[in-house]
Assembly symmetry: C2
Homo-oligomer: 343 residues x 2
């Protein structure tokens, strides 16, 4: 695996390549308390997640002989679809190592994009070891979901795109970007893309390896007995040095969100943004809505993905699913001055 | 009420005004059969519907003395929010005549935008008569939801915007635009905006005044005993001469969709576009997905609104809600060549 560092120049190159490939995803205004924050809807990418960016930047950088030997990805589903989508566009064979318990919709869509899928057991097998063995056996290029300089730079293009949109529509670029954080690929990319902005990663409770790494100054792993989380996209065992070097230099605050806070954020997005956001994609929004981060008009939040099994959406909306947090949030979709009338 | 005709020049002026006010809504690719059609997500406007366009074009055309006397709107909810939003931005007093049975979310949001609301009974009262009396009493300007040249031109800006997007991303402007149709404001606007495209209005079964008017060559009204429809946004009693003149000259085909087809289209949008679309907003998509219109790569479909009560989304997703149509559609979200593997 390559060891070069990701750079802001690389992010700018990735952003230029992606601007020629895909229209910008919308940046939607959302009332949070007294502020109007901007939500970057990466859930509306063709694969339903930002991962298409890093995969495109990585695969377009392969040499002809590397392309001929194919690529190997490791992913719970969104990076899988990103690699499979880019590989199909470029005529490259893709093999993806995916957990057996990935959402059915992610497995189906990755297969539908023409990728070969190799399943593994999240609890008992080491996904990186499986992928590395496969890559060696086939001479294929391993495209890591986050510990890869091109992947980090590609994800960073989100930051370039949202900065241009905020300069046009929000009176100036972001001073704070709140983002869901798994292994730290998107978070590191945003940090490189937006040197003037505070970058705030958000993780699910118990899947907080980045938070604990930032708190201790050294990379920490997820506990083997971590309870299940709905945020399958953020279930990474640990961040890596290439990501952590950027995060450690740039992140001054970080947050954990509960499963209930994530579900309330998903419901809020359905009602007030008219968007389907997957649990992991709603983690940043959850931290904002739960009041963990003071919002203002130059705050952006990345809604990183929207791949949810329809069967998983139903219980979210079932009568009785709403909590006190939802009831409080129902009043945040409208300007503060009007809240008394609705309450 | 003014009687000037809406024009293509007016549509272009509206489009220029709106381009300075709001970012373009995204145009999303969607597999339908073997084709990739383009879905225009007007559900992502700040008020969750395209109606913000016509309201803005109309209200910005008022004189200072007209602005001072305020505006009156009539609407089941989306035009209401469009007028209320534009009025708030421009500092104009707005009163909206709304049906007592409008979705709660539409009533709440219109009120939250600062409008005064006057409720009426959809079955027993004539909404236009109430609004006209109010307008006369107050010297206010009546902003009709569809029978108004500025409103038609403003809605037509959807067509200008989607043409530019398709020229950039789909290899050429639309040859066919499929659209939900209520009174015919959006449909007439699209027809003026896109003279080269076939314009295909879609109505709910039994609420098919435009279909029957096109079939008979004269304006027809909805039967007083028409059964209920989930498509509250399309429950208009009849189109008007200013709309019908354009529709009669331009529409060569039109379609009705069932309540089940609309629900399946909403579910399909939730899963494959990651968008919440209200029933009326999904009517055009429903006709395409049900195979009533042959899709191709230059077909666009307008997803006109996304204002749904969360309580109305839950039953849509309840176990058992899926039909044979849903199961057939589940295979349309992926390229045809891959369907066998998933079936």
């Amino acid at each position: 695996m390559t060891t070069r560092e990701p750079t802001r120049e690389g992010v700018l190159q990735a952003a230029a390549k992606i601007a020629g490939l895909l229209p910008p995803t919308p940046l939607l205004p959302l009332c949070v308390g007294d502020a109007v924050v901007r939500a970057k809807a990466e859930s509306l990418q063709p694969i339903g997640a930002f991962k298409i960016r890093g995969a495109w930047h990585r695969l377009t950088a392969l040499s002809d002989s590397e392309r001929a030997r194919g690529v190997i990805g490791v992913s719970s589903g969104n990076h899988a679809q990103g690699v499979a989508w880019a590989a199909r566009e470029l005529g490259i064979a893709a093999t993806i190592v995916m957990p057996r318990d990935a959402p059915a919709v992610k497995l189906e869509r990755t297969r539908a994009l023409g990728a070969e899928i190799v399943l593994y057991d999240r609890a008992r097998e080491d996904r990186d070891a499986i992928a590395e063995a496969l890559a060696e056996e086939r001479g294929a290029t391993l495209v890591h979901a986050y510990a890869d300089p091109w992947v980090i730079e590609g994800q960073g293009s989100v930051g370039i795109e949202l900065t241009a949109q905020m300069e046009r529509w929000a009176g100036g670029g972001p001073t704070r970007i709140v983002t869901p954080c798994g292994g730290g690929g998107l978070t590191a990319g945003l940090a490189l893309a937006c040197p003037e902005a505070e970058i705030v990663p958000v993780e699910p409770e118990h899947w907080d390896d980045v938070c604990r790494s930032l708190e201790t100054g050294a990379i920490q792993r997820i506990a083997p007995d971590a309870p299940p989380t709905a945020c399958d996209a953020l279930q990474t065992p640990a961040t890596r040095p290439i990501n952590f070097a950027v995060l450690k230099a740039r992140c001054r605050s970080w947050h954990r969100v509960s499963e209930a806070e994530v579900a309330a954020a998903q419901r809020h997005a359905l009602t007030h943004l008219r968007l389907v956001i997957e649990p992991g994609g709603a983690a940043g929004l959850a931290a904002l809505l739960a009041g963990k981060i003071p919002p203002d008009g130059r705050t952006a939040v990345v809604l990183s993905g929207g791949n949810v099994d329809p069967a998983a959406l139903a219980p979210l909306l079932a009568p009785g699913a709403r909590t006190d947090l939802d009831r409080a949030l129902a009043l945040q979709g409208v300007p503060r001055a009007e809240q008394r009338r609705l309450a």
